[in-house]
C-alpha cells in the first residue's frame, strides 16, 4: 500500500504493547479536550486565582511589600493550612466547571456517531476504553487543581524565611489527597453522565445538576426529618468537611451537624460505584438485548 503506487501491502513493522493502547486513548482524549477554545479559556480563568494567591504569598513573606501594600489591613497575611484550604476550594470549583465542559467532549463524540463498535473492535477492552478517557479527564483536571496548589506550596517553601516546608508538609499531602479525591470523583461522574446523553450541552447541564440538585434534596431531607444525614447528599458541604480534615483546619460546622469521615467516604464510594454501573451499561460495542 503506497501513496504513489496505490496498492495494498501488509504491515510488518513493530507493534506496541497493550498498555500503549490505553495511553493512545488518553492522548487523543486529552487532545480532543484541549482543542476547544472554551477549555483554554477556562484554564486561563483558573490561573487568575492562582496569580492572586501567588501575589499573596509574596506579600506574606516580604515585610517591606506588606507594609507598603497592606498598611491599612488590621491582620497580617499569613500562609497556613486555612490559606491553602481556600486555594483548594476555589480551584476545585473551577475543576467542576471544566469537567462539565470537557467530559461530554470525551464521550459524546464517540456515542453520537456510534464509534464504539469500531473502537472496541481493536485490542482494547471496555475497561481500557473508560480508563483511557478517565486519564484524559484526570490529567486535564490536575492542571487546575493539585498542580497549581503544589506550585504555590513550593513557592511558599522557597519564599519563607523559616524552615517552613518540613513543618507544614502535611498541608501539601492534604492538598494533594483532597484534590485527587475530588478530581477522580468528578472524572468518573462526568464520564458516566456524558455516556448517557448524546447532546453535549445537555450533558454539561446534567453534570452541574448532579452536584447541586442532590444538595437541595439533602437540605429538604434534613429539614423534614430533622437529621444531619441529609447533608451527605450535599457534595459541596461534604467535600469541604473532608478537605478541612485533610488539611487539619478548624471545621466550619458545629459538632452536632458534623459528619463522620467514614460516612463521607462511603457516599463517595457509592456514588463512584453507581457511575461505574452506568458506564458498564452504556459503554458497549452493541446494544444490550433484554428479555
Amino acid at each position: 500500500m503506497s501513496v504513489y503506487k496505490n496498492t495494498y501491502r501488509a504491515y510488518t513493522g513493530p507493534i506496541t504493547p497493550l498498555w500503549m493502547r490505553v495511553y493512545a486513548l488518553a492522548r487523543y482524549g486529552f487532545a480532543e479536550a484541549w482543542s476547544s477554545k472554551i477549555t483554554v479559556a477556562l484554564f486561563t480563568l483558573s490561573l487568575l486565582p492562582f496569580l492572586v494567591f501567588l501575589v499573596g504569598i509574596y506579600l506574606a513573606n516580604n515585610p517591606i511589600a506588606q507594609i507598603l501594600v497592606l498598611k491599612s489591613v488590621a491582620h497580617p497575611l499569613t500562609v497556613d493550612a486555612s490559606f491553602f484550604l481556600i486555594v483548594l476550594q476555589i480551584q476545585s470549583w473551577i475543576a467542576l466547571i471544566l469537567t462539565a465542559w470537557v467530559a461530554p467532549r470525551l464521550i459524546s463524540f464517540d456515542l453520537a456517531d456510534n464509534a464504539l463498535p469500531t473502537l472496541l473492535s481493536h485490542p482494547i477492552s471496555r475497561v481500557g476504553y473508560v480508563f483511557g478517557k478517565f486519564m484524559a479527564m484526570f490529567t486535564s483536571l490536575s492542571a487546575v487543581t493539585w498542580v497549581p496548589c503544589l506550585v504555590l506550596f513550593a513557592y511558599q517553601c522557597y519564599s519563607s524565611q523559616q524552615p517552613w516546608a518540613a513543618a507544614h508538609f502535611s498541608i501539601a499531602a492534604g492538598v494533594f489527597a483532597g484534590a485527587v479525591i475530588w478530581i477522580a470523583f468528578l472524572s468518573i461522574l462526568g464520564l458516566a453522565l456524558s455516556s448517557w446523553v448524546k447532546w453535549r450541552v445537555v450533558a454539561t447541564g446534567i453534570i452541574f445538576a448532579a452536584v447541586f440538585v442532590p444538595a437541595g434534596v439533602g437540605a429538604i431531607v434534613s429539614a423534614v426529618l430533622r437529621t444531619k444525614w441529609g447533608l451527605l447528599l450535599n457534595m459541596p458541604v461534604t467535600m469541604s468537611i473532608l478537605w478541612q480534615r485533610l488539611l487539619g483546619t478548624p471545621e466550619f460546622m458545629h459538632d452536632a451537624a458534623s459528619l463522620p469521615t467514614a460516612a463521607i467516604v462511603t457516599v463517595l464510594v457509592v456514588a463512584c460505584l453507581l457511575c461505574v454501573a452506568m458506564l458498564n451499561a452504556r459503554i458497549r460495542a452493541r446494544e444490550v438485548v433484554r428479555g
Binding site: M1, S2, V3, N6, T7, Y8, R9, A10, Y11, T12, G13, P14, I15, T16, L18, M20, R21, A24, L25, Y28, E32, F109, D110, A112, D113, N114, A115, L116, P117, T118, L119, L120, S121, H122, P123, I124, S125, R284, A285, R286, V289, R290, G291
Partner: protein, 317 residues
C-alpha cells in the same frame, strides 16, 4: 486449521437463541456470509470479535478462542461495521491514524499507514476533511480504510456496499478483489447481495434461523460437472417434484410452478417427461444451466434443517 472454526457454537441474547449449534471450518481466502435478516450473520461476526460470549461451544479464529483470546484476535482483525461508526468530529486522516494506533501501530507508522490507506481506498484528496462532512459512500470507504490501516490478517466486512451507488459499489468490489488477490489478508464478507459475494468470495456460509444452511466452496461447486435444470410446469407441481425426487434427483420448488433440479447421470430427460405425462403435468419450459450462488442460496433456504447438528438435511452441495 481453518481461518474460522466453529464447534457447536450457541449464542443466546436475552432469552433468544440467535446462533444454534454452528459447526464448521471456514478455510477460504474470501468467505461470504449469507442469510436473510435475523439469520445471525451480525451476531456471528460480533461473537468472532468477542463482543458476545458463547453460551455453549466455541468459535476459533486462527486457532485462538474468540472469547478468551479476544485481545489477540482483535489485533489481527480489521472490522468494517455495517452501520455508521466513526468519530465525525475528526478529520479522515486523524481518525484512521487513531484506529491504527489502537490496533498497535506506533504513532509515526500509524500516520504513514493512515495516509496510505486513505489514498488506497480513494479518499486521499479529502483526508483532511472532517468525517461528518463525507458522503455515505465516502463513510463506507473510510470504514474500510480504518479496517485496513494496521494490516490485519482477517478483514471482516459487514455489508460493505450498503447504501452505495453502482459506481461506488463497483469500486468497493474492485478493492475487495485486489485485497484478496494480494494474498496476505483473509476476508469474511457479510452481505445481503448475492452478487457481491459471488464476485468476491470463494467460500460461502449460509445461515438460516441461526443455523448453518449451507457451507460450500463456490469455486468447487462451479467446477463440478453436475447437470442442472430449470423447469416451468403447470399442474400438480408438488406431486411431480416428489416423484422426481424418487428418481434420485435433488430438487427445489418455487412459486409459479418453477422447479430447479440436479439430474444424476443415470437419469434421462425422457424420464421426466414420462412422469409428467403420468401425472398430467405440463412441462412448458426446460432450461439446462450451470449452478449459481443464487441456486445454492435458494436451495439452502428451501431445505429443512436437522435440529440436532445444525446442518441442512437435504441440501447436497
Amino acid at each position: 486449521m481453518g481461518v474460522i472454526d466453529l464447534d457447536r457454537l450457541e449464542v443466546r441474547l436475552g432469552a433468544r437463541t440467535v446462533l444454534d449449534g454452528l459447526t464448521g471450518e471456514l478455510q477460504g481466502n474470501a468467505i461470504g456470509l449469507l442469510g436473510p435478516n435475523g439469520a445471525g450473520k451480525s451476531t456471528l461476526i460480533n461473537t468472532l470479535l468477542g463482543f458476545h460470549s458463547p453460551s455453549k461451544g466455541t468459535a476459533r479464529v486462527f486457532g485462538l478462542d474468540a472469547h478468551r483470546d479476544r485481545a489477540q484476535i482483535r489485533g489481527a482483525i480489521g472490522y468494517m461495521p455495517e452501520n455508521d461508526s466513526f468519530i465525525g468530529n475528526m478529520t479522515g486522516v486523524r481518525f484512521v491514524r487513531y484506529m491504527a494506533e489502537l490496533a498497535g501501530l506506533p504513532s509515526g507508522e500509524a500516520l504513514e499507514r493512515a495516509h496510505e490507506a486513505l489514498f488506497y481506498v480513494g479518499l486521499g484528496e479529502v483526508r483532511y476533511r472532517k468525517v461528518s462532512t463525507y458522503s455515505l459512500g465516502m463513510k463506507q470507504l473510510i470504514k474500510l480504510a480504518q479496517a485496513l490501516a494496521h494490516g490485519p490478517k482477517l478483514l471482516i466486512l459487514d455489508e460493505p456496499t450498503n447504501g452505495m451507488d453502482p459506481i461506488a459499489r463497483q469500486r468497493m468490489i474492485q478493492l475487495v478483489k485486489e485485497i484478496r488477490k494480494e494474498g496476505s489478508v483473509r476476508l469474511l464478507i457479510s452481505s445481503h447481495l448475492l452478487r457481491d459475494i459471488d464476485e468476491t468470495c470463494d467460500e460461502v456460509l449460509i445461515l438460516k434461523n441461526g443455523r448453518i444452511a449451507a457451507l460450500c466452496n463456490i469455486e468447487a461447486e462451479r467446477r463440478s460437472n453436475r447437470s442442472f435444470m430449470e423447469l416451468e410446469t403447470v399442474g400438480a407441481t408438488e406431486k411431480f417434484s416428489v416423484s422426481i425426487r424418487g428418481l434420485g434427483c435433488e430438487c427445489a420448488c418455487f412459486p409459479g410452478g418453477r422447479i430447479k433440479l440436479v439430474i444424476p447421470d443415470h437419469i434421462e430427460v425422457r424420464d421426466l417427461y414420462v412422469i409428467a405425462s403420468e401425472q398430467g403435468v405440463q412441462i412448458r419450459r426446460m432450461n439446462q444451466r450451470r449452478d449459481s450462488l443464487e441456486d445454492i442460496f435458494l436451495r439452502a433456504m428451501d431445505s429443512p434443517m436437522d435440529n440436532e447438528a445444525g446442518r441442512p438435511t437435504h441440501v447436497s452441495l
